[in-house]
């Protein structure tokens, strides 16, 4: 058995030698120095933010948090916003007109003019669950608040008109110089 093709021992074969001769220029040539694997991680100098920037950022953050906290505290407390309203004692708020009774005549109240806060504007079921109770409470609260709003607007509007009318009449009766 000829092992020339396997490990080069034995009698050389002519055809194989011819092939070896042709392929020899393409054979592996070991380099003079072993290949050096380049470092995958290159040490880059870390560029840190200057210390003063952090100091400024921290100061601003503390200031912003303090300001936010102060703003939250400064909000009016809505839970106590209302109402030392004594509804039993304000059945008649026409005192503004009565206060100027000596100089004012008020026409009889026309029931067609009455503006009332809508009472049945939202359908509420009678199931009595928490959502409905909360809705009812909000509606009731809204109606009371709307009543108060109307009363305040009425007082304001009536007095503004009274002032305007009197100022105009005084202006009209003042002789021209």
């Amino acid at each position: 058995m000829n092992d020339y093709l396997w490990d080069g021992s034995g009698e050389p074969d002519g055809d194989i030698e011819q092939l070896e001769l042709l392929l020899r220029p393409l054979s592996y040539k070991a380099p003079a120095e072993p290949y050096a694997v380049p470092a995958l991680v290159v040490a880059v100098p870390v560029k840190r933010a200057p210390l003063y920037r952090w100091a400024v950022a921290a100061t601003i953050a503390v200031f912003a948090l303090s300001l936010g906290f102060w703003l939250i505290r400064a909000q009016p407390d809505e839970s106590v916003a209302l109402a030392t309203l004594d509804r039993s004692s304000i059945s008649d708020l026409t005192w503004t007109e009565r206060a100027i009774k000596p100089t004012v005549t008020v026409d009889p109240i026309d029931s067609n003019h009455v503006v009332s806060v809508p009472r049945h504007t939202v359908a509420v079921s009678n199931r009595g669950d928490r959502g409905d109770q909360r809705l009812r409470a909000e509606l009731k609260e809204g109606r009371v608040a709307a009543d108060q709003l109307l009363k305040a607007l009425r007082i304001t509007s009536d007095n503004l008109n009274l002032v305007k009318t009197k100022v105009n009449q005084v202006g009209a009766t003042t002789p021209e110089s």
């Binding site: 300001l67 000596p102 008020v106 109606r143 509007s157 009274l162 009766t173």
Partner: protein, 195 residues
């Protein structure tokens, strides 16, 4: 790293926004009067009205008014008048006897109205009835941001402080829309004229 380098700028932006919000809130707070000093009048009064409407309660009130007939001209007027309001604070007292309160009781409110931010728009005074009505306004730029009406006579004290953007004309057109018709005024005012 870029994120960290922009952090101060972002925080600065947040601070600017917070400061703008704070300025807006302070402007509203400036138009609000402290009416607590009037509460002592309640002890002698026969009738009283005292409430502070702002924030959620005011929104509830406006919502209640808005839920009515959208085409009712009276409700439309009222809704237009309350648009832009931030708060309404009222104290009203009626006494059974004349001079049941002292002028000094109103001094706290008057002191606030004398501050530079308020301007006295108009006022009428009747010596015969002891009636005195004064209207004060606070401007934010060229718009009215606060209105206070102080009305008194021998038996009544009423202070209404309105905070927010106010249209006086719309407010005045409300008269006659609350169930009370317009008042017809006959003035006893006599002004001497030159011969």
């Amino acid at each position: 790293m870029k994120m960290f380098s922009k952090l101060p700028l972002r925080i600065l932006g947040l601070v600017v926004v917070l400061l703008a919000t704070s300025w807006s809130i302070n402007a509203q707070e400036a138009a609000r009067l402290r009416l607590d000093g009037l509460d002592k009048l309640a002890t002698n009064s026969a009738h009283k009205l005292s409430f502070d409407l702002n924030g959620r309660l005011l929104q509830l009130a406006i919502r209640a008014l808005s839920s009515g007939d959208a085409n009712d001209p009276k409700m439309v007027k009222i809704r237009e008048a309350v648009q832009g309001l931030k708060g309404i604070y009222a104290r009203s007292f009626e006494f059974e006897a004349d001079n049941a309160y002292a002028a000094a009781d109103l001094e706290d409110v008057r002191t606030q109205l004398r501050s530079g931010t308020w301007e006295r728009l108009a006022g009428i005074q009747s010596k015969k009835d002891g009636q005195n009505i004064e209207v004060f306004t606070m401007f934010e730029g060229d718009r009215i941001g606060g209105l206070t009406v102080l009305a008194t006579d021998t038996r009544h004290v009423s202070v209404v402080n309105i905070v927010g953007m106010i249209d006086l004309e719309k407010l005045m057109t409300l008269q006659g829309n609350f169930g009370i018709p317009n008042v017809n005024i006959t003035l006893p005012i006599k002004i001497k004229t030159k011969p």
